[in-house]
C-alpha cells in the first residue's frame, strides 16, 4: 500500500491511459506514447475504443487544448499563461503524463533558482577529486529530458530571474545545451519538449524577454466562463478545505458563495451579471482561488467568532482584502460598485452595509 498523499497522475489515471493506448492506431509523433487525438480525449474526456470511460481533466474550451497539443506536436515549446487557479499546472501535468507517460521531470522556478538547477550542477566532492568530468556532473530534469527525449515541465517560469530564464533560449531554438567545462554538448533527442506555466497577472515578476517569449506558443487559460461552473468549483473546494480545517459548514453557505461569486464575477468582468451596467475593474485578479480563500476566511470567522453564523459582516473584511489591492484606485472602484450596483439590490443590503463599513 502506497502511503503517498498524492500520486503522479500517470499512476493515478494509469487505467485510462492504458485503455487509450490499446485502441490507439493513429500516427504518433516521435517519442509520443499516444496520438494527439488520444491525448485530447484523455484531457477533455470521452470514451476509449474499448468503452473505458475517460474522465474530463480540463473543463473549458476545446480549442485551447487543441492548440496546446498541436504546439507540442510541432516541437515548439508550450507556455500556459493564466491568473492563479486556472488549472495551468494541472493541465501541464496531464499533458506530460498523456504524451510521455511521465510527468515527473519538473523544475519549480523561484527567485532563488540559478543556472545550475536549470542546466546541470556539479558533485563538488568528485569535481575536487577528479576535476571536471561526466561523472562529476549532476543532471537536472531539463538535462535528463533532453537526453531521454522526454517532456520537461517548468513551473512558474516568470518567478526566476531573467538571466536564468534566458539560458533556455539555446535549448529551445537549437535543441542542444553546450557544456563548456567538458568541451562537449548534449543534443536533445526526438520527443523532447518543454511545457512552462506562468502567471500573467502578478506584479513584480520577471517578465519574459521577447527573445524567449518568441520561442513559445502561448495558450492563455481563462477563468471559468459561466457562473454555475464556477459556483460548483468553489463549493467543492470550500467544502474540502473546511473539512481539512475541521470547520463546521453552516447551511446558508451555498447562498453566500453565490453572492460572493456574483460580486467577484461582476467586478472581474467589468459589467453586471445582466449586462446592463458597465463597471470599472480593480487591479487584483479576483480569481476563483481568491473566491475560495474569501469563503474559507469567512467560515473561519463564523466558526471562531460569530457563533457559527456566516454572513456579510464576517465576509466583508476578506472581501475588501481581495478586492482592494491598490488603496486609492481600487477603493474608488469598490465605492462606485457599492453605490451604483449593490445599493439597488435588496438581497445584498447586508453586503452593502458591511462593505461600506469595512472600507
Amino acid at each position: 500500500m502506497n502511503a503517498a498523499i498524492r500520486l503522479p497522475v500517470e499512476q493515478a489515471y494509469a487505467s485510462e491511459l492504458q485503455a487509450l493506448a490499446r485502441g490507439d492506431d493513429k500516427q504518433k509523433p516521435a517519442g509520443w506514447s499516444l496520438s494527439p487525438k488520444a491525448v485530447l480525449t484523455y484531457l477533455l474526456g470521452g470514451k476509449a475504443s474499448d468503452g473505458t470511460l475517460i474522465t474530463p481533466k480540463y473543463v473549458g474550451r476545446r480549442r485551447l487544448m487543441e492548440t496546446a497539443v498541436a504546439t507540442l506536436a510541432t516541437d515548439r515549446a508550450l507556455l500556459l499563461l493564466g491568473v492563479p487557479g486556472t488549472a495551468k499546472s494541472w493541465v501541464s501535468e496531464h499533458l506530460a503524463a498523456a504524451i510521455m507517460g511521465d510527468s515527473t521531470m519538473i523544475v519549480q522556478c523561484t527567485a532563488g533558482t540559478d543556472e545550475n538547477q536549470i542546466r546541470y550542477g556539479w558533485n563538488y566532492a568528485r569535481l575536487l577529486a577528479k576535476g571536471p568530468s561526466q561523472e562529476a556532473l549532476v543532471p537536472t530534469p531539463l538535462y535528463r529530458a533532453m537526453q531521454d527525449g522526454k517532456l520537461c515541465r517548468l513551473e512558474e517560469l516568470t518567478r526566476m530571474g531573467s538571466d536564468v530564464q534566458d539560458t533556455l533560449i539555446t535549448v529551445l531554438s537549437e535543441k542542444m545545451m553546450p557544456i563548456p567545462e567538458l568541451n562537449t554538448s548534449i543534443y536533445a533527442q526526438r520527443g523532447f519538449n518543454i511545457i512552462a506555466t506562468a502567471n500573467n497577472r502578478d506584479k513584480g515578476v520577471n517578465e519574459l524577454s521577447s527573445a524567449l517569449k518568441r520561442r513559445f506558443n502561448v495558450v492563455v487559460l481563462p477563468l471559468p466562463e459561466d457562473m454555475a461552473q464556477e459556483v460548483s468549483i468553489v463549493s467543492k473546494r470550500v467544502g474540502e478545505m473546511a473539512g481539512g480545517l475541521d470547520l463546521p459548514v453552516p447551511k446558508n453557505v451555498a447562498e453566500e458563495i453565490a453572492r460572493v461569486l456574483t460580486i467577484f464575477r461582476e467586478l472581474r468582468s467589468g459589467s453586471t451579471a445582466d449586462g446592463k451596467v458597465t463597471l470599472k475593474t480593480p487591479s487584483g485578479s479576483l480569481s476563483t482561488a481568491e473566491a475560495i480563500a474569501t469563503m474559507v476566511g469567512g467560515l473561519s470567522q463564523a466558526a471562531w467568532f460569530d457563533g457559527g453564523k456566516l454572513g456579510a459582516e464576517g465576509l466583508a473584511a476578506s472581501l475588501v482584502g481581495a478586492i482592494v489591492k491598490d488603496p486609492v484606485q481600487d477603493k474608488i472602484v469598490l465605492e462606485e460598485y457599492l453605490e451604483t450596483v449593490l445599493k439597488k439590490r435588496p438581497d445584498y443590503a447586508g453586503y452593502y452595509a458591511a462593505l461600506n463599513a469595512a472600507i
Binding site: 480549442r63 497539443v69 498541436a70 504546439t71 506536436a73 515548439r76 507556455l79 518568441r214 451596467v277 451604483t340
Partner: protein, 752 residues
C-alpha cells in the same frame, strides 16, 4: 420547341469558394444565357455592373417611389458568385437576366413580415430581421459546415473542393444535400413559394427563348424547388393578386463592413475581409501564409513586434492543428487559433482588436457618375415639399416654433442635414437655444450639397437613416465622455433614435471606465440640457436620468481625489467644470440620495486637507448656495480659512473660489460680509497690496450700482431686507428665466 440544357448552380451568397467554382463551371458549360436570383425588373441594370467604373462593393437599391424608407438592398462584392456570373456573362456575350420576383411586387408592407426570410433581399433595418429567421434557409451551406464541425463555411467549401477537384460534381452534390435538407421542411411561407414559382416560370420562358445551355445561379436552398417539375398554371395562380407598387432602382456604393452579417445585413458574411482574401488568393497555395502576413502587418501597424520567425511558427502550428482536426489544410479557425498562440502571446482580446480591421475591411465601392438618381436626393425633395421649404442659394432667415408640428419637422430636417454635412441651414442662436421653443436658422443652398448627399448614401437610403448611420459611426469613433454627451445631445435634437441609443450605450460604457473627474463633470451639462428641456422635443428621458444619476455619483466619488494638489491652470479648469456641473445638477433635480451624495462629495472637497484652496472655496460656495452650510457656519469657515495662520496664497485662492461668482451676496449677507471684512482688516499692508488684483477681480463682477450698494452696506448705511426674509439662492437664475418668458410676450409674441 427548342431544346436547351439547364444547369443549376446552387451557390452560397457572398461565398468566394462558390464564386470560384461557379466561374470554372461557366467556362466549361459556356451557357448562352445566365439567369440570376434577383429582382426581375432590375435586369436592365445588370450590365452596368460590369462597367469598369463600377467598383464593388456596390448594392442594387430598390424602393417604392413614395417611400424610400422601405428600400431593399442587393449588395454585390467582388467575391459574390452573382457578381462574377455577371462579369462572365458580359465578357462572353451571354444573355443576362434576373429571375426572382420583381422588386415592385416585394415592397409593400404585407411582404415585409415574410421578406425577412429572403436571402438576397434583406430589409435595411436591423429590427426588420425578425427573430424567427431561419439560419439554415439563409445560409444552408453554412449549416452543413457547422454540422461538419466548421465555424467558417468557406473553409468547409474549400476543403470539399480540395477533395473533389472537378467543379461540376460539386454543384450536383450541393443540390443533393439541399434536397435532403428540404425534405424535412414543411410547407414554406407564401412569399417564398411565390418567389420560387416566379423563378420557375422565368426559367421556362428562357428555355423557350434560347437555343443552347442555360445557367441558373441561385441560392443553394432554392435548387431542389427550381429543378422540380411544377405545372405552370399552378405557379401562375400563385402569383396572381400580388399587390404592386411602382419602384425605383439604382446602384449605390456600399462598404465592406456593411456586408458583414453582424451589422444587420441578414444574408451577409461573418468576415468580408476573409472572403475577399480567399477570392484574391484563389488557385494559389500560399493563401494561409499571406493571411498570416496580413495579420502581422496590422499588428505591426499597431506597434507590436512580430518577427518573420514567429510567422513561420504560426504557420507550422496552423498545419499541426489542421492535422489534429483531420482537415486537408488550415482554414480560418486554424489560422486564428495559431496566430493567437504564436503571434498574440495567447491574448484572444488582441485578436478582437485586429479582427475588426482585418475581417470587416474598409472597402468603399464606387459607382459610375451617370447612374440613375440617388434616393437620398429624392428623399430630400420629398421632405422639402412636406416642410414647405425651397432650396434657394440666397440667404434667408427662418424662425421655427418647436411646439408646432410643422416647426418641429422643419427643425428636425435641418438638424439631420447638418449631421450629414449638408449645412443648408445654420443655427444663428445656437448657444442660447436650449431653454426656448424657438430656433432661428439661416438657410442657403449650395450645389455641392447634392454631391454630399450622394456620398452619404453609404449610411442609408433616406435622410433619417443616413443621419442615424453617420452619427452612429461618429459615436463609435468618439473617445471622451464630453464628446459623446455632445453627440447624444445632437442625436436627440435631430430626433435620431438609433444614433441616440447607440450613443447612450457608448456613454454608459465610457462612463464606467472613465475616472477622469473633469471629463465626467463636463459630460453632465449637455445631458442635463437634454433631460431638462427634452419635453420641447418630445424625447424619452428615463434612461438618460438613470445614466445622469450614475454620472453624478461617480463624479462625487472622484471629486475629492481629483482636487488634490492642483496647479493654477488645472484648478481653474476644474472650477469652471464644477460650477457648470453643479448648476446642471440643480436643474435636473435628481433623487434625494443622489443629491446628498453629490453634496457629500463637495463637503469632502471642502474638508480634504490636500484639496486645492480654489476648489475648496468653490465647494464651500456651492454648499452655501444649496443651503447646506448655514450663514454662521460659512462665516466661521471663512474666518478660519482666511485667518492669519493660513498661507496668504491659499487664503486668496479660497476667497476667489468662494466669491468669484458671489459678489452680490456680500451686499445682502451680513454674516458673510462681516467675515470678509474682518479678514481684510487683519491683513498687513504688504499682504493687502499683494491681494489687491484678486479683490479687484472678484468685485469687478459687480456693476457700479451694486458696488455702491456694497460700499453703503459696509459703511452701515444700507437698506436691509426686512427681518425674516432671505434672498432665494437661485434668485438670479430665476430672474433670467422670467425675463426669457416675458420677452417674447412683451414683443408681441406671435409666431415667427
Amino acid at each position: 420547341m427548342k431544346h436547351s440544357d439547364i444547369a443549376y448552380f446552387g451557390i452560397r451568397h457572398h461565398g468566394p469558394g462558390s464564386a470560384d467554382s461557379l466561374v470554372q463551371a461557366l467556362q466549361e458549360l459556356r451557357p448562352v444565357a445566365v439567369l440570376i436570383e434577383g429582382p426581375s425588373d432590375a435586369s436592365a441594370l445588370l450590365p452596368l455592373l460590369a462597367r469598369p467604373e463600377m467598383q464593388p462593393p456596390v448594392a442594387l437599391l430598390c424602393y417604392p417611389q413614395d417611400d424610400p424608407a422601405s428600400t431593399s438592398f442587393w449588395p454585390f462584392a467582388e467575391f459574390s458568385p452573382e457578381y462574377q456570373a455577371v462579369l462572365w456573362a458580359v465578357g462572353n456575350k451571354a444573355a443576362l437576366r434576373f429571375i426572382d420576383l420583381p422588386s415592385s411586387a416585394r415592397l409593400p408592407a404585407e411582404a415585409m413580415d415574410t421578406a425577412q426570410n429572403t436571402d438576397a433581399a434583406e430589409a435595411s433595418e436591423v429590427t426588420e430581421a425578425g427573430d424567427d429567421e431561419d439560419p439554415h434557409r439563409r445560409d444552408p451551406i453554412g449549416t452543413l459546415a457547422h454540422a461538419a464541425g466548421y465555424e467558417d463555411g468557406e473553409s468547409w467549401w474549400s476543403d470539399i473542393v480540395e477533395q473533389n477537384p472537378e467543379p461540376g460534381p460539386i454543384f450536383a452534390a450541393i443540390a443533393d444535400a439541399m434536397t435532403t435538407l428540404r425534405e424535412g421542411e414543411g410547407s414554406i411561407a407564401k412569399f417564398e413559394a411565390r418567389r420560387e414559382a416566379h423563378m420557375r416560370l422565368e426559367i421556362a420562358a428562357a428555355r423557350k427563348e434560347f437555343d443552347g445551355p442555360i445557367a441558373v445561379v441561385c441560392g443553394a436552398w432554392h435548387v431542389p424547388a427550381l429543378q422540380a417539375t411544377h405545372v405552370q398554371k399552378t405557379d401562375q395562380a400563385l402569383l396572381k393578386g400580388i399587390a404592386r407598387r411602382k419602384s425605383t432602382m439604382t446602384w449605390a456604393p456600399w462598404t465592406g463592413p456593411r456586408l458583414a452579417s453582424g451589422l444587420g445585413y441578414g444574408a451577409g458574411v461573418v468576415a468580408p475581409g476573409w472572403c475577399k482574401h480567399l477570392w484574391r488568393t484563389r488557385g494559389r497555395h500560399d493563401g494561409a501564409t499571406l493571411w498570416l502576413a496580413m495579420i502581422a502587418a496590422v499588428l505591426r501597424e499597431k506597434g507590436h513586434l512580430i518577427s518573420t520567425a514567429s510567422l513561420i511558427e504560426a504557420e507550422r502550428l496552423a498545419r499541426a492543428l489542421a492535422a489534429i482536426r483531420e482537415r486537408p489544410k488550415p482554414g480560418f479557425e486554424e489560422l486564428r487559433d495559431a496566430s493567437v498562440a504564436a503571434l498574440f502571446n495567447g491574448e484572444a482580446l488582441l485578436w478582437a482588436l485586429v479582427g475588426a480591421e482585418l475581417l470587416l475591411g474598409a472597402d468603399v465601392g464606387e459607382i459610375p457618375p451617370d447612374t440613375p438618381l440617388a434616393p437620398l436626393i429624392e428623399d430630400l425633395q420629398r421632405n422639402q415639399k412636406a416642410a414647405r421649404l425651397k432650396p434657394e442659394a440666397l440667404e434667408r432667415e427662418l424662425s421655427v416654433d418647436l411646439r408646432s408640428e410643422s416647426g418641429l419637422f422643419r427643425s428636425t430636417l435641418l438638424h439631420r442635414l447638418n449631421v450629414l454635412g449638408v449645412h443648408w441651414g445654420k443655427l444663428t442662436d445656437a448657444g442660447r437655444s436650449r431653454g426656448t421653443f424657438r430656433e432661428r436658422w439661416t438657410l442657403a443652398w449650395e450645389p455641392e450639397y447634392a454631391v454630399r448627399l450622394v456620398e452619404n448614401l453609404v449610411y442609408g437610403p433616406t435622410i433619417e437613416k443616413a443621419a442615424n448611420g453617420r452619427l452612429t459611426q461618429m459615436v463609435g469613433a468618439a473617445a471622451t465622455l464630453d464628446t459623446l454627451a455632445a453627440l447624444v445631445q445632437g442625436a436627440i435634437t435631430a430626433d435620431l433614435s438609433e444614433a441616440s441609443s447607440a450613443g447612450l450605450v457608448a456613454l454608459e460604457a465610457r462612463a464606467a471606465h472613465s475616472s477622469e473627474c473633469l471629463e465626467i463633470l463636463a459630460s453632465v451639462p449637455p445631458l442635463a440640457d437634454i433631460i431638462r428641456y427634452g419635453e420641447a422635443r418630445k424625447t424619452e428621458t428615463n434612461r438618460l436620468s438613470g445614466l445622469m444619476e450614475r454620472l453624478i455619483v461617480e463624479a462625487a466619488i472622484a471629486l475629492p481625489y481629483a482636487v488634490r494638489d492642483l496647479d493654477q491652470q488645472a484648478a481653474a479648469a476644474l472650477v469652471g467644470a464644477l460650477r457648470k456641473a453643479d448648476e446642471a445638477i440643480r436643474l435636473v433635480e435628481p433623487g434625494d440620495d443622489v443629491l446628498s451624495g453629490w453634496r457629500d462629495g463637495l463637503a469632502a472637497v471642502l474638508d480634504g486637507p490636500r484639496s486645492t484652496a480654489l476648489l475648496a472655496g468653490c465647494a464651500a460656495h456651492l454648499l452655501y448656495e444649496a443651503g447646506q452650510l448655514s450663514a454662521e457656519a460659512a462665516a466661521g469657515l471663512l474666518g478660519r480659512r482666511l485667518s492669519p495662520g493660513t498661507p496668504v496664497s491659499d487664503a486668496a485662492g479660497f476667497f476667489e473660489g468662494f466669491f468669484s461668482t458671489a459678489g452680490q451676496r456680500l451686499i445682502y449677507d451680513e454674516g458673510l460680509r462681516g467675515a470678509v471684512d474682518s479678514w481684510l482688516k487683519s491683513l498687513d499692508e504688504e499682504a493687502f497690496v499683494a491681494h489687491l488684483p484678486l479683490l479687484r477681480r472678484v468685485f469687478s463682477n459687480l456693476d457700479s450700482m451694486e458696488r455702491r450698494r456694497l460700499i453703503e452696506a459696509v459703511l452701515g448705511r444700507a437698506a436691509r431686507l426686512p427681518a425674516g426674509l432671505t434672498p432665494a439662492p437661485d434668485g438670479g437664475e430665476a430672474w433670467r428665466r422670467h425675463l426669457e418668458r416675458l420677452g417674447p410676450l412683451l414683443m408681441g409674441g406671435g409666431d415667427g
